[in-house]
Symmetry: D2
Subunit: 93 residues, 4 copies
């Protein structure tokens, strides 16, 4: 899968909410009510990642979750990352 | 913890939605969009059960989840079951 | 997928451990150290079910987990159930 | 809870395996067979964190999990972190 250009990523992010390009990854931080809600949502996202066979770099501390997406093989952001970001937003709702 | 009488249970269920008394348990069936959503919600409920140190008899098939609550030590339904039912309804939302 | 005959199921179960044919399903009960261990293992199994696109009828109470497998479309046990049973045994270890 | 001195942390880490002091946190990286196994183990750890009411800064990418422990209120590593590290090692086994 081909790495997207910065322009292409900027365009793609217009259709998402709260995602930003940073260090060759697209990144977003979510805040939940508590750890229980954060981890249950992570579980939901984890199933979707397995389904899409694409996995995030994600970091959790209590009710905060930061997700960073890039495609290792392409050494940058691809359409797969944009698709997963969209799925994650749908899950978090 | 004291077992509630049938009258007490009936009164308590008036403050909940969709729970019914059956075979000395209070029971409710939830339907989700798919298995992923069902299991993620189960994860959220599982944390709450651990917190309340009270665990359900629950049965899942794909997007369907049936939860049955009773208190083993009391050989029937107690306030702990009513409280957990309320927490579950808040989680499922 | 074709429903297996009782003889075929009996043969298949010889290669598994602890699974029994009951009510047109193959069934096994697992016991864990506590609820936390039971639910974490359920999470692992849940991912495998999604991967195989085949889901169990499973019932949990605290540290006990009973899994019943059948194939709805075939109205009985198929090779998909035998395969999932084998995967579950590998996960539980 | 009182922040441990570097000497006290060094002593405590002798009873653990693979944990190192870094940036005022104790840190360890685990590698699992795949994402499914990593996330199922995270679920088990998550329950333990809730039980101890102490939560890690943890980061996952596919089969890799890095856990960093410190106590926010103490602005450093406390006995709570050492205890949680020990519990995590017991869970991962």
């Amino acid at each position: 899968m081909k790495k997207l250009t910065t322009n292409e990523i900027t365009e793609a992010l217009k259709n998402l909410s709260g995602w930003a390009l940073k260090d060759d990854m697209i990144e977003k931080t979510f805040t939940f009510g508590d750890f229980k809600e954060a981890f249950a949502t992570m579980t939901h996202i984890a199933f979707e990642c397995e389904k899409q066979n694409h996995h995030p770099n994600w970091e959790n501390v209590y009710n905060s979750l930061t997700i960073k997406l890039s495609t290792h093989d392409a050494d940058g952001v691809t359409q797969k990352d944009v698709d997963l970001a969209k799925s994650i937003d749908e899950i978090v709702g």
